[in-house]
Amino acid sequence: MSNAMMGHVSLEQAKSLVEFLETNQQEKADALVAEIQNPTNSELFAEIGKLTRQLHDSLTNFQLDSRLNDLATADIPDAKERLNYVITSTEEAANKTMDAVESIFPVVDNIANQVKAVSPAWTKLMNNEIDLNEFKSLCKDINTLLVTTGKETIHIHSLMTDVLMAQDFQDLTGQVIRKVIDLVREVEDSLINMLTAFGISAEQTQVKSPPKVGDNLVEGPVVNKEDRDDIVEDQDDVDDLLSSLGF
């Protein structure tokens, strides 16, 4: 306000004041008097006005950013559902596989037992030490073994196909997880944008902080073992650590 430097009131201001009063513009006249009395105040008001407008615009822009709204109300709940699907389908696959394997165990054990049963007589036969009765009995046992093995290998084959087919979850869960990763990336970008809008440098916050842990330091599986030095790599590390403690 250069006029303030020269004196309290300029000729121009006085003329405007007279004009406002003559044309019945009392409010404008009052404002002018206030400005003449305290020019810095009006500068301050102008600055506050500008900031208010900016804040208003920013808030409006936030509301306009419907993507952010979609992320919170649609995409994130959808991602939760997708991850639950991963839990369910991997659990199903594990159970299907174990169903098949658990039915194979007794079948294999049965064959192994029959082989064990014929084995002594078979050894005698191979060594030419078998008598006729033993030989007849061995023939019967071998016959049973062949029938059982023939039947059960078909059974095992079909169960192994079940194990094979139970692995089809990997393709589906892989796609689902990839989608969730994309979403996480988008949310990350939005958060960084928001931080930037509020004048917080995103780079500053990129300092690697240790992961959150629960009670008793519980963290769950560590996926970046090579980047950590507070973690054991494998069972050998565990055993070494325990033996160093006198275990």
Binding site: E91, N95, D215, N216, L217, E219, V232, V238
Partner: protein, 123 residues
């Protein structure tokens, strides 16, 4: 020998049960966290506990501590099978009196070795 397998994931309980059965343990019961396991232990004559660490409700490490603090249970050997792999946690488990510590993912051979070692020590 009566064994209690404690894990919140039924698939992991099933895996451990199958492996134990293969090693000759046939009397196996299950619990899905420490707070279910503890009354079962107090009510039954269990000889051995295999437990996960990270479970909702009572964690495996707290179950271990509770077992060691209970005079009628403190003699029961406890094997932890867990994805928790911080050195500090392994030390914590050792101090709490764990008999064996297996990190997931693990193999049938590892389980056998640890079991042999635990029962060899107990004599």
């Amino acid at each position: 020998m009566k064994v209690l397998v404690v894990d919140d994931f039924s698939t992991m309980r099933r895996i451990v049960k199958n492996l134990l059965r293969d090693l000759g343990f046939t009397n196996i019961q299950e619990a899905d966290d420490g707070s279910t396991a503890l009354p079962m232990l107090q009510g039954g004559d269990f000889d051995f506990v295999v437990t996960d660490w990270n479970m909702p409700g009572m964690q495996g490490i707290d179950l271990l501590k509770a077992i060691r603090a209970d005079a009628s249970l403190s003699h029961i050997p406890v094997l932890l099978i867990t994805a928790e792999a911080k050195k500090e946690q392994i030390v914590m488990a050792a101090q709490a009196g764990v008999n064996g510590y297996i990190v997931k993912p693990f193999t049938a051979a590892t389980l056998k070795t640890k079991l042999d070692k635990i029962f060899e020590r107990l004599g």
